[in-house]
Structure formats: C-alpha cells, structure tokens
C-alpha cells in the first residue's frame, strides 16, 4: 500500500494542475482548496486524538486534582508531586499496574499461542482450498467462512454448558481453545486469498517431479508463506488480546485476561479516581498499539483480507 501511496502522491498533484479554468483562477482555487483540505484533515486528527489526550492528562493527575472544572486541563503539578502527602499522579499508574500485571502476563500466554496455532491451521486450509482444490471446495470454504460472521452469542449458551459439563477451568486455557477455533475462518480466508497469488506452475512442476501434496506444501508453499503468517498472527493476536465477550462468559477476573481485569478496575472508578482507570486503559492498550505502530502496514493488510477480496 505504501508504494501505491508514493506514486499517487505525485499523480494526485498532477491531476489538480490539469483541472480546467483560467490559469489564474486555477491557481487561487488550488491554494484555497489545498488549505481547506489540510485544515479539514487536521481538524479530524484533533477529534480522533481527543480521547487519547484525555486519557494521558487524567492518568497523571492526582485524585485531588480531578474535578469537573479542570477536567480538560493539563495537570497542574508534576506527576511525582503530592498534595499534603496524598497520592501523586504516578500512583495512578502504580495502582493500575498492580491491578493489571498478572492479567497482562496471562493475556500474552493466551494471545501468542492462539495466534500461532490458528495461523498454522489456517495456512493448511488455505493451501488446500486455493491450490489443491477438490469438488465442492468453494462450498466447504463458504461453510467455514460462515463461522467468521456469526454473532458469537449464537454459540455462547451451549459453550458455557459444554464448559461446565466437561469441567473445564475458568482460565485462559479454556479461552485459548475457543480463540483458536473461532480464529480458524479468518485465518483460512487470509491464507486462501494469499495463496491464490502463488503461481500454479510452481506446484504443477513439483507435481510432475512426483511430489505429493504434503511435500509440495512443506517445500514450496510454507517457505513462501511468511507475509501470510505475519498478517494472520497480528490479526489473531489483536483480536484475542482485545476480546471481552468470550472472556466474560468463560473465565473470571482471577484467571481471565486483561480485558476483564481492566473492566473490573474501571467499573469501580468514580469521577475522583478516574486516573487509575485511565492509566489502566493505556497499559492494557499498549501491546496492541505497539503492534499497530511497528507492523501497521500488515495490520491494514489483515483488515483488508478480512473483508474485501482483491
């Protein structure tokens, strides 16, 4: 996408100068239009970032400084300064960290394996469904895909009953199974679309050489699959990390992921100690934001594979 951006940047400007009108009028509208455009873009940036501003400033205010009148203002003292020996701005972060730390660790233990296992299965499915097709492959694919779009509410009641009957624990191991299973459809979709781009000749050549399917998969497809794995792993990691629905129905705060711990911390918050909840929201969002910042390009790729086919 970024390559397209570079070339479109110059193209876009070229369009403008080619537009009609007398040369002078064109110049004026061009400058006006451009200024208005950047002004609009900046205005939207401010709106989108507003909640982040609120999170940051509030998280650094000691509880005594959190009141309606100054709620939009910048902190009036350094985060380490206390008022008459009371809690400081930093104490919000300490409180939030203490409340979330164990859950953060559990969430990594959930999101990483959930991502890896679902990606691996998705890769195998995607390969079969795109490059080693069999009769009714597209029907099978559509049946798998349906699992991605269903409201998970439609499986939750029996899932809860099943968990009780099998005596599964209310912790992340149960959640791990669930995230692998419901991650399968999207991983399959992403890999299937990705493998469609692998030249069929490559596979035919290996078939001629007598390689069976598993052989072709291991020696030709897997080595080419890195970008597909990056996209699916990011996608799965983010959705497992951010999940609240399954976590709420299948685990409890003692053994659940960070979304439960954060909600627990935040629901206790009144206006006065919003600071700790806001620090907690920032801490809980940090891993997915990091993924987004470092691997943003692939994150977008994942979003696209989940919706439009090229």
């Amino acid at each position: 996408m970024s390559q397209a951006t570079q070339s479109d940047l110059s193209n876009g400007i070229a369009h403008k100068t080619r537009a009609g009108g007398t040369p002078q009028a064109k110049g004026t509208t061009f400058v006006l239009g451009r200024t208005a455009k950047y002004a609009l873009l900046l205005f939207f940036v401010i709106i989108v970032l507003m909640p982040v501003y609120v999170l940051l400033v509030t998280s650094f205010k000691p509880p005594a400084d959190v009141n309606p009148e100054t709620s939009w203002g910048f902190p009036v003292r350094w985060p380490w300064e206390s008022i008459n020996g009371g809690p400081t701005g930093f104490d919000n972060w300490v409180t939030a960290w203490d409340a979330l730390a164990p859950a953060l660790g559990r969430t990594f233990l959930l999101a990483i394996p959930a991502a890896l296992i679902a990606a691996m299965l998705g890769s195998m499915n995607g390969f079969v469904l795109s490059r080693w097709r069999f009769p009714h492959a597209s029907l099978v694919f559509t049946l798998i895909l349906f699992g991605m779009f269903i409201p998970y509410q439609a499986v939750l009641t029996p899932l809860v009953q099943m968990k009780t009957e099998l005596g599964l624990p209310s912790n992340i191991s149960t959640l791990l199974i669930v995230h692998v299973i419901y991650g399968l459809p999207i991983c399959t979709l992403i890999f299937r679309n990705y493998y469609e781009g692998v030249p069929i000749e490559l596979l035919e050549a290996s078939r001629m050489d007598g390689a069976g399917m598993l052989r072709s998969y291991a020696s030709i497809i897997l080595p080419l699959s890195m970008p597909g794995f990056v996209v699916t792993i990011i996608w799965q990691f983010t959705s497992a990390w951010n999940d609240y629905l399954f976590a709420l129905f299948l685990t409890d705060v003692q053994g659940g992921p960070v979304s439960l711990a954060l909600n627990n911390l935040a629901q206790g918050a009144q206006l006065a100690n919003y600071g700790a909840a806001m620090a907690g929201a920032l801490i809980a969002s940090f891993p997915t934001l990091l993924v987004y910042i470092i691997l943003g390009k692939y994150f977008i790729g994942g979003l696209m594979s989940g919706s439009v086919k090229s």
Binding site: T5, D8, P51, P151, S307
Partner: protein
C-alpha cells in the same frame, strides 16, 4: 482408485482437524443453542422439557425485548451512517495526493487497534451525563465553547441515548471504512477519470457516473461488515454504561438472562440475533461463492 486416494487423501487430511472443529463449534453449537431455546430451561434445576416456539413468542411480545431491538436499530443506523460518512470523507480527502498521507491514515485508523473495553473507560468519562456546574467530559467542553444548548445527558437520554453510544463505535471504526474506501479509490484506473474529463464531464458528473459506480462494491462490503458488527455490539455497552435498561441491546440482555441461569431465554435471544445477522451474511456469502466459481 489408488490414484484417487493419493489425490484426495492428503487434502482431506489437512482439512479434517479444522472441519471437525468448525462442524462441532459452529454448526453443532448453533443447533444445540436452537434446541435449548425450545425448552423450558429457565433455571439450573429445570429438566428442559420441549416447549416449541413458546420462548420466542414470549420474547417477541415482551416490551423489554422489543425495547432492546429498538435500541439496536437506533444504534445501527447512527453507527452505519457515521462510519460511512467519516470513512468516505477521510478517504476522499486522502485520495487526492496529500503530504504526510501515511500519518493522517495512521491516526484515523489507530482506534481500531484498541479494545472497546479500553476506549470505553475514556468514553464513559466523555459522555458523562452531568450538566451545568458538575459537567465534565463533552458537556464541559461544550460549555467552554459557549455551546451550552448542546449539553445533554448523552446515553441517559431515553430515545437518543443509543445515538450517543454509537459515537465511540464511530470513533473506533471510521478509519477501517476509510481504509476500504481508499483501496477502492486507488483501484479506479486513472484512464477512466481522464476519459471522463476529456468528454467534458464536470467533477460532479465524474463522481456520479464514474467514481461512485466503481466504489459501490466496496461500499456494499463496508455496509455488510458494519451492520454485522453492529448487531453484535456488546463490549462497548458493557464498558460505557454496564448492562442497564436504558442502553440494553439483545446481546447485553442475553448476558443478563444467562447470569440468571435462564438458558432457554438466553439462547432464544441469541437465535434471534443469529437470524438477523444471517439476513446480511447469507446473501453476501452466496454472492462471494458465485464470484469464486466464476473465477476458478
């Protein structure tokens, strides 16, 4: 015969684990859910005798459930219109060659990476219903700008409250729709625009006859994605308002039913949601499948 096994054996082997999992956990559980919804399992102690459509009839004549459907409808309309409008405007502004496009795009898209539970913390604060001296959040900001008449109790408002709840959802997903539309804009060949301009088409006609038709498949995908997300809205409401009557939607009502061990009711609500979602999904999936058959 042996060739057949060699050809179809391995693919089946690779697909089997996933197929079994999907068969049990998607289709099997949906059937189990429908089964439960037709019993009288209203408590843990209940035997679960078959009662047919009784639970559905009760639901569809219950004002509380209808209220939750109405809430969902208001939320969905505002959410769809909001994300489509912002997504389109952002993509349109960015399409025409903007310096630092990457930065704008990243800012607009980043809320997507954050969970509803986390963004709910700040939106609960922004949508605080206190007015006047006690106002904080958006109400306080409106006051600062002298726009007091716009102050309101946000999600506590009986009818328009659900529109307020849609604001965080719009904040979170407009960037996604922008990314879809941007890909759509970039997919329109320059020659098409040029040809239309050569024929003397005005900017409006260019959009009306060239660009909008080219974007419509993407707009349709976006619409389907946003509507099915909307039907499932749960995290956001739990995070911003908790499960209360004013902002109740079927998904949060189902949670309440389940915490009261009313399995039959919970699964009936879930089935209604599934049917609503299927109205969007099934035509979409059939369409995708046909396209694919044509291309292969």
């Amino acid at each position: 015969m042996r060739k057949g096994i060699r050809n179809w054996g391995p693919p089946v082997l690779l697909l089997t684990p996933s197929l079994i999992l999907v068969a049990i956990f998607v289709y099997g559980l949906i059937i189990a859910n429908i089964q439960t919804s037709m019993t009288d399992r209203h408590s843990l102690a209940s035997e679960g005798a078959f009662v047919g459509f009784e639970n559905y009839i009760t639901l569809l004549t219950e004002s509380r459930f209808l209220h939750s459907l109405l809430n969902l409808a208001v939320f969905t309309v505002v959410f769809i219109v909001g994300t489509m409008v912002f997504g389109f405007i952002w993509a349109w502004l960015l399409d025409k060659g903007v310096k630092a496009e990457g930065i704008f795009r990243s800012v607009y898209l980043f809320p997507m990476a954050v969970s509803f539970v986390a963004s709910g913390v700040v939106w609960r604060w922004l949508l605080n219903s206190a007015e006047g001296d006690r106002a904080s959040g958006l109400n306080r900001m409106l006051q600062t700008f002298g726009l007091d008449f716009l102050q309101n109790s946000w999600w506590n408002e009986p009818i328009w409250g659900m529109a307020a709840i849609a604001m965080p959802a719009i904040w979170q997903l407009s960037g996604y729709i922008m990314a879809l539309f941007l890909a759509g804009f970039r997919g329109i060949p320059d020659e098409l625009r040029e040809a239309a301009r050569m024929d003397g088409a005005s900017e409006w006609k260019l959009y009306r006859h060239v660009i909008f038709p080219q974007l419509s498949p993407i707009a349709l995908s976006a619409l389907i994605i946003v509507s099915h997300m909307s039907l499932k809205v749960f995290d956001l409401i739990m995070a911003v308002t908790k499960a209360i009557y004013q902002t109740e939607v079927p998904a949060t009502y189902m949670w309440i039913a389940l915490t009261e061990n009313d399995y039959a009711k919970a699964s009936a609500i879930a089935t209604v949601l599934l049917i609503l979602a299927s109205l969007f999904i099934i035509p979409y999936l059939i369409h995708t499948m046909r396209e694919e058959k044509r291309s292969s």
